[in-house]
């Protein structure tokens, strides 16, 4: 991340002054991380999100429409379902999402799944 702070104080001693701040950071691709929860009255809908991921990250996400609850759809990174079933993950995400969000929200979530594997072998 690069942070530029240009002070223009000396450009005009007597007039009005402007301070320009530029925050540069890398664009996150894909911009929705692992999961996106889309509220029923959110400013963007599942169709718009679908078009965005089709262009930015084709075939990497699954757009799941929901019939009940505050969320209209959940967009999940497909690779997560290799580690945990879609239904299990969806239940956990929706349960947590419903606690903190309402119909107008669009929430993105980062999911870290750590597998602990212990294997015993004969020496």
């Amino acid at each position: 991340m690069v942070f530029l702070n240009l002070k223009l104080a000396n450009l005009n001693e007597t007039g009005r002054k402007a301070q320009i701040s530029i925050l540069l950071s890398e664009f996150e691709i894909p911009p929705i991380q692992d999961v996106l929860l889309i509220g029923r009255r959110a400013p963007i809908g599942p169709e718009a999100v679908q078009r965005m991921i089709d262009v930015l990250s084709p075939e990497q996400y699954e757009n799941i429409r929901l019939s009940d609850g505050p969320f209209e759809a959940v967009v999940i990174r497909k690779s997560l379902s290799r580690l945990i079933t879609r239904e299990k993950l969806l239940n956990i995400i929706l349960e947590e999402g419903c606690r903190i969000a309402n119909e107008t929200a669009v929430l993105k979530a980062q999911i870290n799944i750590v597998l602990n594997i212990n294997v015993e072998v004969d020496l």
Binding site: R41, A42, I44, G45, E47, A48
Partner: protein, 280 residues
């Protein structure tokens, strides 16, 4: 001539694009005072967005996220009565009109009601002859039985000349009301054909239609007699003896024939001083 969707539709229809914002659609609706827009995706109809959809959706959303995707549409050649039925059955306010998969217009419930209002006889409140003809075409198109009953008031010209046209109009109103009151079940569909002539169509066979016509004539005679303006009526019946359903290729010509035959049968009733006659 049967009225078609293309005769009544507003064309060209004001539309929205699938990637328009809901906010933009709201402005269009307000500007043109309309409650619904067909939605196009690369020129093809893909949905419809209504003011209700707009009210409950964030204005930043694209139309694709607010519209109804299961859009009901009609062909430009669909009859007006079919369009009316679709609007009523599906509880819709408007329906897009397509010509070979291309949007060519839109019809609202109001358009239909205005058009049907044009087909209502202001004196009797019954439908006009052209409306009844269109209904008859639909009955034949659906391969149903069709019987035409033609009623002609006897000596009505003489009544007008003797008692005046206002008196004559009162008689016609009474007769119209009798038809309306005795056809509420929908099995018999009455209309004012012209002057002192009335037409009723039904899917009943000719014998049942004959019994019904006889009853109506008795009611007209008794009611007008009790009101001090006695009228007698002659009726003629045609059709209503189809053995098997068959495809009609010339619906309009078939209906012309049936009306003509029923009319001639009513003349025969007059000449023979009988209430009801059947065409051969």
């Amino acid at each position: 001539m049967m009225l078609k969707a293309s005769d009544v539709m507003s064309s060209p229809a004001i539309t929205a694009e699938i990637l328009d914002s809901v906010g933009k659609v709201a402005i269009i609706m307000e500007k043109y005072q309309i409650g619904g827009l067909p939605v196009l995706d690369k020129g093809k109809l893909c949905g419809i967005i209504t003011s209700r959809d707009v009210r409950r959706t964030h204005p930043n959303r694209i139309v694709a996220d607010a519209m109804c995707k299961n859009v009901v549409y009609v062909d430009k050649d669909a009859s007006l009565w079919d369009v009316k039925s679709i609007l009523e059955e599906k509880k819709l306010e408007r329906v897009p009109v397509l010509d070979n998969h291309k949007l060519v217009g839109i019809i609202t419930k109001t358009d239909i009601l205005v058009e049907i209002g044009r087909h209502t006889d202001p004196l009797t409140g019954l439908k006009t002859g052209s409306y009844i003809r269109a209904l008859a075409e639909n009955i034949l198109k659906d391969r149903n039985e069709l019987t035409v009953i033609f009623f002609d008031l006897n000596n009505f010209g003489h009544i007008n000349k003797t008692h005046g046209h206002v008196y004559g109009d009162r008689c016609l109103k009474i007769v119209g009301r009798i038809f309306a009151e005795n056809t509420s079940g929908g099995l018999y569909l009455p209309g004012r054909y012209a002057g002192d002539e009335f037409i009723v169509i039904t899917t009943e066979k000719k014998d049942n239609a004959g019994l019904w016509a006889d009853e109506i004539i008795k009611k007209i005679v008794n009611t007008t007699k009790n009101k001090g303006m006695p009228i007698s009526v002659a009726a003629g019946i045609a059709g209503g003896r189809r053995k098997d359903a068959r495809a009609e290729t010339h619906l309009s010509a078939t209906i012309d024939d049936l009306i003509n035959l029923a009319s001639l049968a009513s003349t025969s009733s007059k000449q023979n001083c009988v209430p009801v006659s059947f065409s051969n």
